[in-house]
């Protein structure tokens, strides 16, 4: 049995190819999660403003992204953008762009929810002691909203990481696709190949996502005490 495992992972460059695939997965996840957090806070605050134009704009954006399956967005930006407008983006930039657009919309909605759920007297008390609106946001609303945000943000982050395998539909060889290529060529000789390869991929995703949810638990406990 050990033979069947070593023959898969040690033959040729299989192991380093899987690691290269993992790097692609991580690169897309890390960049788009960080950008989404940052942009999501800005868009989320815009959604709580009183400016009607701003409200309508962010609303249209949120609804469009929300109803569109990720795969459709990927195809739209990879194929249609080039076919119709002649804008030819690389597959990797399309992947990061789409995941950021999606993450930003979801993040913005989380931020909006956290901010508007803040009791009104908080803001009024701030005004009463003479703080400006931006000071109220910075010192009163945001610090409290952040705590309410954590569970949703962690959920969003792991969801984004787990959705990255979709990128192989626009020809980006991520971890799962590389695994599939290895299974296809070793599968004829070794029937256990798919079990070991997908088993390893499961383990890798677990190692990435589990610490993130532990971290959220840690933060929640720390703030409670």
């Amino acid at each position: 049995m050990l033979d069947s495992v070593t023959s898969i992972f040690l033959s040729g460059r299989n192991m380093s190819r899987l690691l290269e695939g993992l790097w692609v997965t991580l690169e897309i996840s890390i960049i788009s999660v960080l950008l989404s957090m940052f942009l999501g806070i800005i868009v989320g605050l815009m959604m709580t403003s009183k400016n009607r134009l701003l409200l309508a704009g962010t609303r249209v954006y949120l609804e469009i992204i929300r109803v569109m399956p990720i795969l459709v967005l990927l195809f739209l930006f990879y194929y249609s953008l080039s076919k119709i407008w002649g804008i030819n983006l690389s597959a990797m930039s399309v992947a990061i762009l789409v995941f950021t657009l999606w993450g930003t919309a979801e993040m913005a909605d989380l931020v909006r929810g956290a901010v508007t759920s803040m009791p009104r007297h908080q803001r009024e008390s701030g005004r009463a002691i003479g703080l400006t609106e931006s000071q109220i946001n910075r010192y009163i609303i945001i610090p409290q909203a952040v705590r309410r945000l954590v569970p949703g943000v962690i959920n969003l982050t792991t969801r984004m990481i787990k959705t990255t395998p979709f990128v192989f539909f626009i020809n980006v060889p991520d971890l799962v696709k590389v695994g599939q290529q290895i299974v296809e060529i070793t599968g004829m000789r070794n029937v256990m190949a798919s079990f070991w390869v997908y088993g390893l991929i499961f383990l890798i995703y677990f190692i990435i996502c589990y610490p993130i949810s532990r971290f959220s638990l840690y933060l929640e406990r720390k703030w409670e005490s």
Partner: protein, 279 residues
Amino acid sequence: MKSMIKTFFAGAAIFVALVAFAPEVKAAGELDKIKEADKIRIAVFSDKPPFGYVDENGDNQGYDVYLARRIAKDLLGDENKVEFVLVEAASRIEVLQADKADLVLANFTVTPDRAEQVDFAKPYMKVALGIASPEDAPITDVAQLAGKKLIVNKGTTADSYFSKNHPEVELIKYDQNTEAFNSLRDGRGVGLAHDNTLIFAWVRENPGFVTSIDFLGSLDTIAPAVKKGNKELLDWLNAEIEQLYKEKFFNEAYDATLKPVYGDSVDPETVVVDGEIAQ
């Protein structure tokens, strides 16, 4: 509800406006563009051995890839000046239309529907039906099948060929290749009909079965495809392939990539294209 409808119309209006003002995308001087970039982008499969796959060293291999490297060598002087775009079967037309690849070499069977969306060059391979059956009770003639059970995959060429031309044969249909082949092993039919290229590889791995008919039905060809209207590259390809027929290059490609999988028992002429069929 009202605001949702408003949102929807606003979104739709923006989308329509963007499409309406789209600039014309033009394709000119395609060969020069490739030479300027000093590499040709060729779409191949990454998980369909032995036609296009990635080996354990991470290199692209297979019959399609063998031709791809030769094209790069003849066009740009170096067989490594090719950038492989790894495609799925469903995106083979899109990669050309969206200019993500200059050329598709991904076991692309020529059909009238596809020919309306892309331009096919001269073929480099052919595919027909084959029948696999047990060694001790081989089906060597379609007449033997009358009133017997034949295994096929739903919606394949084998399915339509027998339904149309041989209604006397009783068909058992499956969705998946694995199911179909397993049922042949279990003896649920006297034989199995599928693309001969697939039958050859399966029989090699399964002792006790033979390819009892290796060429049947209408002949389909597999050819390189370029973006519709890319005449410059198409003309170059046709001249190139014409030259490769003369050199017997496709026999060489067969020996290097398909023979190890199919074994010696298969006649290369059932797969390889030479000059005659191209007309």
